[in-house]
Amino acid sequence: MAYVPEPVRSPSAAVGAAGAAGRSMAGFLTSRAFLAPVGAVLVFLIVWEALVWVNGWPNYVMASPSDLPPAYARYWELFLVMGWQTLWRTVVGLLVAVVFGVLVGMVMGFSRLMRDALYPLLVGFNAIPKATVVPIVALMFVGAHDFNTVLIAFMISFFPIAVSVSIGLSTLEPEYRDILRSLGASQFTVFWKIALPKTLPEFFGALKVAVTLAFIGTNLMEIVSPHGRGLGALFDSGKTNSDYPLMFAVLIALAFLGIVLYYIVVALEKIFAGWAERSPG
């Protein structure tokens, strides 16, 4: 399958640095790192289409990929608005989870007593299926839709962050601390210069899990609570109206957003913790 790279030119980026950027972009678009996953997606779509066609499934059993473009074309405005709502509420929930998770992780990482005290509480909290929490939250803060959604996204995603930070900090070799402390460094300097950067690889590992969880949390709230917003609500309206292609189109849009969020975290990891990637050998 020959692939002819097309120069990607959005109208706004057509001038100035676009030349060099365009060349490296073209290089990326022909690289294996790009072609392999794109090929896999194509194969997946073809198999899906073939499966529906061979079995002769009607739309209400299983929509096929060829049903999706019409659905997007009809509702593209809704997809943009709802997609944005899902996106920002997920990101805000995740950011709160990062702040709160890092703080709890720091407290547990630096204090043995706090670790012993808080750990069972956190584990228990994490073990509660969030689907049971959603209606409770929806009842507690009736109508505060954005708040509720962000809250669930946060609750479902902060646990791995807190645990990874606390483990990263508590397994810091004492020599690191001694070297800085013997020079008169404050506890904060030890954290800032050593503990924090050293924990970054674990932190990003957890963030990759957390970003997916936050996304699930957002959608859970959107689907369950009535008069919802976001892609979850769009899915729900597809269900109510028996618009099966719409439901599948939402699923694909969710998958796409999830992939984007995940790879943003991966890019951040490359920037801030790229040193942790061991060269082979």
Partner: protein, 280 residues
Amino acid sequence: MTNLIDIRDVRHAYRTEAGTLPVLDGLNVSVPEGGFVAVVGPSGCGKSTLTKLVAGLLKPDHGEVWLHGEKVKSPRSTVGMAFQNPVMLEWRTILQNVMLPLEIVPNKLTKAQKQDRARYLLELVGLKGFEDKRPSELSGGMRQRASLCRALVHKPEVLILDEPFGALDAFTREDLWQIMHQVKEREPFTGVLITHDLRESIFLADKVVVLSGRPARTQYVLDVPDTGPRSLDHLYTSEAAEMLAILRHQIEVAQGRAPAEAEPETRIAPPPGSAAQGMH
């Protein structure tokens, strides 16, 4: 004459959930300015605890630690430390690792001056050309040399080395012994070396302190007649053999495997006469 380091009748115990663990009990060590003392003793007897007391990371339950005529109450930037585990920061280059103390200790150096200082030390220990490498790209011996540079970069008065060569193979270790002598000539410091290698202690130090088993007290002090750079051949003289025999016996006493003959804390002057005779 005042000593640069004075440890006077120090006692210390760790309080753990299992109870108190007395670690040091009547420890006396003094090191004159420019001196280099090696501390040997059974494993777990409290040697690392001693370094933490000197660095001000721990306060003794009883007794005093004096540095340069001042009682140590908290950490001070006139101390440099290196450990068996060289603990380099993997996200920094070797040069940036060596410069770390200069980011903590108050100083008026410019960035360029800090870099020059770090480069100079790296060259001194034979790491020229490795400044921009990551720690994981270096061998264990090289990392240990870089950790030595980091311990010295802020020109500390006191250099504390806690079994720095303990994890290295014999050849690398002997290389580093030579490098230590070169470094001490160019970058004078007062040193405390914790080691479990008796040959290392008499090769590097001018005084060897033997600690008793836990709780440790000063059991024996041996003066080493040679000071300054020396070749490895010095370890194979009858004089060295005699010192090693004495130290080995003292360690056995400290471990409780041999009965003590000498009184504790007896200062036994090295017998240079007899050793010199033995050579003929």
